[in-house]
Amino acid sequence: MTGATEALPIRPLWGGARDMFYIAIERMLPRPRSFWVFMLLALPVFFGILLRIYPPKGLPLTGFELYGIVVALFFVRNLLPLVALLFGSALIADAVDSKTLTYFLTRPISRLSIFVGEFMAYLVTVLTLTLPCVVMTYLVLCVGTPQGAGFGAMDLVQDLGACALTLFTYGGVFALLGVSLKRPLIPGLLFLFVWEGFVANFPGDAPNYTISAYARSLIRHRPSEEGLAELFSKFFGVGESVLVLGIVGVVSLALAIWIFSRREYVISS
């Protein structure tokens, strides 16, 4: 006779995810790697402070234009996808590598709760590291300078939204990569630098299949492209970009959760 004891039900999604979030955020945010990522993201701030202290003669750009270059080129196009790859691909892969996943899989919480908690921690971490840097860059380059005349706060708010959506979408894609592959680093880098880096600047419909083209379309005050990119860059409407990025992010997350829920993890000493 089997002992079918009266068991407590599995913990609700929200409760399990919340407790997973607290554990994950403790392991993600107050860590040396987060500090160094923050310092890298804050490079434009240091650069801006240098420009304010030692303004070069005949600066070819206004503060606002420079801010636009930083947001479009530095954050949205290059650094934020790398940040998403760093933290997003590590969501479950980190717990597997460190062999701590067993602790989570032997608790009365669903795998969905585990994943949602980890992803929420990822979002809070990357937004905490990124958004203050964007705000500080704007403050240093635009506020209180003659060059900042005509610049509105709405553009900053939209840029923050663009950065957040970029991190959400890339985070979903790289979370899917991290759950599907044992070594997601090289495929992630190939995706970023070959697919997103080159294909986004191809002529025709190829950019329609990249995240980068939609992400940069969200920056209304983006700078003009240079070189070949000037000829071939394709831009979409803001509404269309938000919709596509949102869908890509959600679909990637759904796939990642589906794979994670079914996968077995053979973790041994």
Partner: protein
């Protein structure tokens, strides 16, 4: 007996490698030892039992539900795995409390239960230190603490005594016995045979992915009727005793050990032999007599060689 852990013709393979082969057993309340050499399938068995893996064939049930894919059972199940893996930057108390929160305990309850568990494993003085600075034995104890903190009904322990000093081994062995006496199901995998014998007489012997034997150690030994028993006798007049015992028809061999002066006998029918020795005890000054191969190592060796 209400079985809490049920394996029914369960098999598990990794590619071409068969880790467990057609394993069937049931575990109720009490402590069970899981014994086998390296590569026997002990860890795979524990992973299947604790729901980390699904069986390639057959069925594995935990508290009446399939072990894999039923996270609700983990309210009542604890696992102390063999991997040395922790949140290194957490303190011992933070580590146990955090995992208790995943079990649904609120902050105050988790804190209280964590401290109780840490006290049981005698780590209270180090509970505010980061786990990264713990010694091997301390790491093992904090791992054990997280597995028992929520007072599970079923407990799986993979090599729980690794890295512990003798004092702590004794403490943990006593704890396991106590948990068994409280009616919990405890499955312990270990290589330290004599310490397992201190904790339990109920064993599950596994080799090459198959269960060789399960049940009480003495009963298993009795079943091995093909193998003679080994008996050691301490007597004042061992030679005189030997002259009389050598005439017994069921005696297989008789040796006089130079170093100790003890007689070592191998016998087929122990009851008749014991009766005879009793009769001769006064005449030849028999002081002590004991069976030397009713232990795990001997039983296991016999079974493996079958």
């Amino acid at each position: 007996m209400t079985a809490r852990v049920v394996f029914q013709k369960a098999s598990r393979w990794y590619g071409p490698v068969m880790a467990l082969n057609d394993v069937s057993f049931e575990l109720g309340p009490g402590v069970y030892g899981l014994l086998g050499p390296n590569g026997a399938g002990k860890s795979s068995l524990l992973k299947l039992a604790s729901g980390q893996l699904r069986p390639s064939q057959g069925k594995v049930e935990l508290l009446g539900r399939p072990a894999f894919g039923s996270p609700d059972v983990f309210h009542s199940v604890g696992l102390c795995a063999d991997t040395d893996a922790f949140f290194e930057d957490f303190t011992g108390l933070q580590f146990v409390s955090a995992l208790l929160s995943l079990n649904g305990f609120d902050k105050a309850q988790a804190h209280k239960l964590a401290i109780e568990a840490i006290e049981i494993v005698d780590l209270k003085e180090a509970m505010h230190r980061k786990i990264g600075g713990y010694s091997k034995g301390m790491r093992q104890r904090i791992k054990l603490a997280q597995s028992i903190a929520h007072r599970p009904e079923v407990l799986f322990l993979d090599e729980p005594l690794t890295g512990m000093d003798p004092q702590n081994r004794k403490r943990i062995s006593d704890l396991l016995k106590r948990l068994g006496d409280e009616g919990r199901t405890v499955l312990v995998s270990t290589h330290i045979l004599h310490e397992l014998e201190q904790v339990t007489r109920r064993v599950l012997l596994i080799h090459n992915g198959r269960v060789l034997a399960e049940g009480d150690l003495g009963e298993i030994r009795d079943l091995l009727d093909r193998h003679p028993r080994s008996v050691r006798i301490k007597a004042a007049d061992p030679r005189g005793l030997a002259r009389e015992l050598v005439l017994l028809p069921d005696l297989v061999s008789l040796n006089l050990e130079d170093a100790t002066g003890h007689l070592l006998a191998e016998i087929k029918k122990p009851d008749a032999f014991f009766t005879k020795v009793q009769e001769l005890s006064a005449k030849h000054g028999v002081l002590e007599m004991w069976v030397t191969d009713e232990n795990l190592e001997s039983v296991f060796s016999y079974l493996v060689s079958k």
